[in-house]
């Protein structure tokens, strides 16, 4: 046999064998630790949170977390892909409302009723219902947040003001700050697109909470006069220059503007406190929160809520360990305490006393006491209506923020999308192209 040719054939076969082996190894399942549960989330700023909590749970119940952070852009498609495979994450952070329905209908998430049977008593009333679809509970809470207006306490102290209790007071304060050259409303497009719904939600919900719910359910139209009035109001606030520069971000710029007394308000979920604190602001001292006063009688007692769920992949390998961890997450006093002190969420449990909360979260203490005064709670826009409409609407609202004079075409565009979307959800919806005046 020709030695050269033989050598060539041999080395090529070796190369091919090596490649095949390499690809097989790359595509195979990761080395699996029985004591860890995989944990997916899309908040890189909270990776240390899961690492530290995992260490605590390792000590207490012998189960650690294997957290992986993703940027929100790739997160959704990555989770969806993995959920359909044997690589399904044990625990992952998601969104509820319409955003969870898709996963539930595709049978990709585990039923957590047994977890709730054991530890449900440690969770404040009203939360379980928000994590339930068709009678089955598919999640435990990561955050339970309310949508409030963060305000600059230093500015208020300087001008001897107190949080507005009526809409007229709010508008007067806004005009006052505007005249002083202070940015009034921190709601811009610099960070990401999703925040563009916030002011719209706040204005509509606190103007007419019944209508808001109807609009979310496809029982009202985007061109109805209630929406038209809100858009005109929103346009007037934009035209008056109340909003902070559109390219500013809520993670870097608003905290700095608060510190320099260049920003008065920032409407956000109560999870925003953690971000402000990360940037060196102190709760109660530098910032506090108020609920937007109602614009009219129909908006009284309204408050937008957001539940951020932790769910379990149905195809995940270590589902039982995942459920154990979630039971610990909900009911363990050390876990609740660590979470509260280090990451400052609004508490949803019945374990930590009100005094303890007031000490670490002075800006939430008052809110927690008052929350029962807001019986007309509603889910925030992001999850409250079908995702196709939401995704289209936030792009259109961004257009509103940067070109307020286009408000009419913004509404017509969202109405158009709603008309195409609702039939897929079994809701009859006739497009109403003309704006109601």
């Amino acid at each position: 046999m020709n030695k050269r040719l033989g050598l060539k054939i041999f080395s090529t076969s070796l190369l091919i064998a090596g490649l095949v082996l390499g690809f097989t190894l790359v595509g195979s399942q990761p080395v699996y630790s029985q004591d860890e549960v995989t944990f997916y989330h899309d908040n890189p700023e909270w990776q240390s949170r899961w690492v530290d909590l995992g260490e605590l749970s390792q000590q207490e119940i012998g189960i650690n977390l294997d957290p992986t952070e993703f940027k929100t852009g790739v997160y959704k498609s990555r989770v969806k892909t993995d959920l359909t495979s044997p690589r399904a994450p044990e625990i992952f952070k998601w969104w509820f409302g319409y955003r969870a329905r898709q996963l539930v209908e595709a049978d990709l998430v585990a039923d957590l009723s047994d977890v709730w049977d054991e530890v449900g008593e440690y969770v404040s009333p009203g939360i379980k219902e928000q994590l339930t679809i068709n009678g089955v509970t598919y999640a435990v809470p990561l955050h339970s947040s309310y949508w409030v207006w963060y305000y600059n306490t230093n500015l208020y102290e300087e001008y001897d003001m107190s949080p507005p209790e009526t809409w007229d007071e709010f508008m007067d304060q806004a005009e006052f700050f505007n005249e002083k050259g202070i940015n009034v409303i921190g709601n811009t497009v610099g960070q990401s697109r999703w925040t563009s719904f916030i002011v719209f939600q706040e204005l509509l919900l606190h103007k007419d909470h019944e209508f808001y719910k109807q609009l979310m359910a496809g029982e009202a139209h985007w061109t109805d006069k209630e929406v038209v009035e809100v858009m005109k109001l929103w346009k007037s606030l934009l035209d008056k220059g109340y909003f902070a520069p559109m390219d500013s971000t809520y993670v870097q710029d608003y905290p700095r503007m608060f510190k320099n007394n260049k920003l008065a308000f920032a409407p956000m979920g109560t999870w925003y406190s953690g971000i402000l604190m990360d940037r060196g602001l102190e709760p109660g001292k530098d910032f506090n929160v108020f609920v937007l006063p109602a614009l009219s009688e129909e908006g009284e007692g309204a408050l937008a809520t957001e539940i951020s769920p932790l769910m379990v992949g149905k195809k995940a390998r270590n589902k039982d360990k995942a459920k154990e961890w979630l039971k610990w997450w909900v009911s363990d006093k050390d876990a609740r305490q660590m979470d509260l002190e280090r990451w400052h969420p609004m508490p949803w449990d019945t374990i930590i006393s009100e005094d303890a909360v007031a000490k670490t979260n002075p800006e939430f203490a008052k809110l927690l006491q008052e929350v029962d005064n807001y019986p007309n709670k509603a889910i925030r826009f992001w999850e409250a209506t079908p995702t196709e409409i939401v995704n289209h609407a936030v792009a259109e609202f961004e257009r509103m923020l940067t070109k307020p004079n286009k408000w009419e075409s913004v509404l017509k565009s969202i109405e158009n999308k709603a008309a195409k979307t609702w039939p897929d959800y079994g809701v009859e919806y006739e497009k109403q192209n003309e704006l109601e005046e």
């Binding site: 054939i9 697109r193 390219d247």
Partner: protein, 301 residues
């Protein structure tokens, strides 16, 4: 064993080995083929298949025929993205190619060529995403350099990237800033490898600098120019990194390029079929450019 049969076996064996030897080159191509087929052609084929379906990742793809393509060509968002992509391609052909050529000619006739080359080439060494992040800060109203200059003369501050009328132009400017250097170096290489004879002859005949440039240098540079142009067109048709980092294709999807639309539809909105159709369109445009430019590079009679 009889000697005849052994001899016959050896002859047959040698015959086979001779045939196999002709396969040598193909054998060495196998690993590369493996990669190209496995990592490029098969996924490309799957994408083409997906472009005729509707798929949201969590359920199976559903055949929908040409409806994705019909949507692509009638959707205002995609048509806007197409318009932006055309702006990118045209913008990259103008300023960074023309200026690079002129600078190359000038640098070629001065001393310290190496120094100038290095200065202009430096931006090329940045990753496009890094360049995008840097210029995003420069364009920002929050202490960005551009607005600081405006404000020092009493103007502004002006929204730059959040202004949908100008943001694409601003971002094309960033890309031009980066890649002019690359084009410059390519042109310099071309200029330095030009035959001296025609240029000398023209000079002897009394032609001035610009006449020589236009009638002699440019035609001789044609292959390099075509390469630079082809490079620019193909790279900007797929433009993603810079607009993504600077505006995410916003505000309100106004600065989306085709590649961003493809990404958004596939991975953010879970319309994998629709996103695949956009991907096929991008590939088709790129292939047309590549084919045309390869044809133009063929040596003419």
């Amino acid at each position: 064993m009889s000697p005849v049969s052994v001899a016959g076996d050896t002859q047959f064996f040698t015959f086979i080995m001779n045939r196999l030897r002709k396969l040598d080159p193909y054998v060495f191509l196998i690993p590369a083929l493996f990669f190209v087929i496995g990592a490029e052609l098969l996924p490309a084929g799957y994408t083409i298949y997906l472009s005729f379906t509707e798929w949201n990742i969590i359920t199976s793809p559903e055949w929908t025929g040409l409806s994705n393509y019909l949507q692509v060509f009638s959707s205002p968002q995609v048509l806007n993205a197409l318009k932006n992509t055309v702006l990118w391609v045209v913008g990259t052909l103008g300023f960074p190619v023309v200026l690079a050529l002129l600078l190359a000619v000038i640098i070629n006739s001065v001393k310290l060529k190496g120094l100038f080359k290095s200065i202009f080439y430096l931006p090329v060494t940045l990753a496009p995403t890094v360049a995008g992040v840097i210029w995003k800060i420069v364009y920002s109203t929050q202490n960005g350099a551009v607005n600081s200059i405006f404000q020092s003369i009493g103007l502004g501050p002006f929204q730059m990237l959040a202004n949908s009328s100008i943001n694409t132009f601003l971002m094309v400017g960033v890309w031009a800033w980066q890649f002019m250097g690359l084009n410059l170096v390519l042109f310099l290489v071309g200029l330095q490898s030009l035959p001296k004879a025609p240029i000398e002859a023209a000079r002897v005949d009394g032609a001035n600098f610009w006449q020589i440039f236009y009638h002699v240098t440019l035609p001789l540079l044609r292959p390099i120019t075509m390469l630079v142009v082809a490079n620019a067109m193909i790279n900007t048709t797929r433009m993603f990194a810079i607009p993504w980092v600077m505006t995410h294709g916003g505000p309100a999807r106004s600065s989306e390029t085709l590649a961003i639309s493809m990404y958004r539809e596939s991975f953010l909105l879970s319309n994998m079929g629709y996103g695949s159709a956009i991907a096929v369109v991008i590939a088709a445009i790129t292939l047309i450019f590549a084919w045309r430019n390869l044809r133009a590079l063929r040596p003419s009679a």
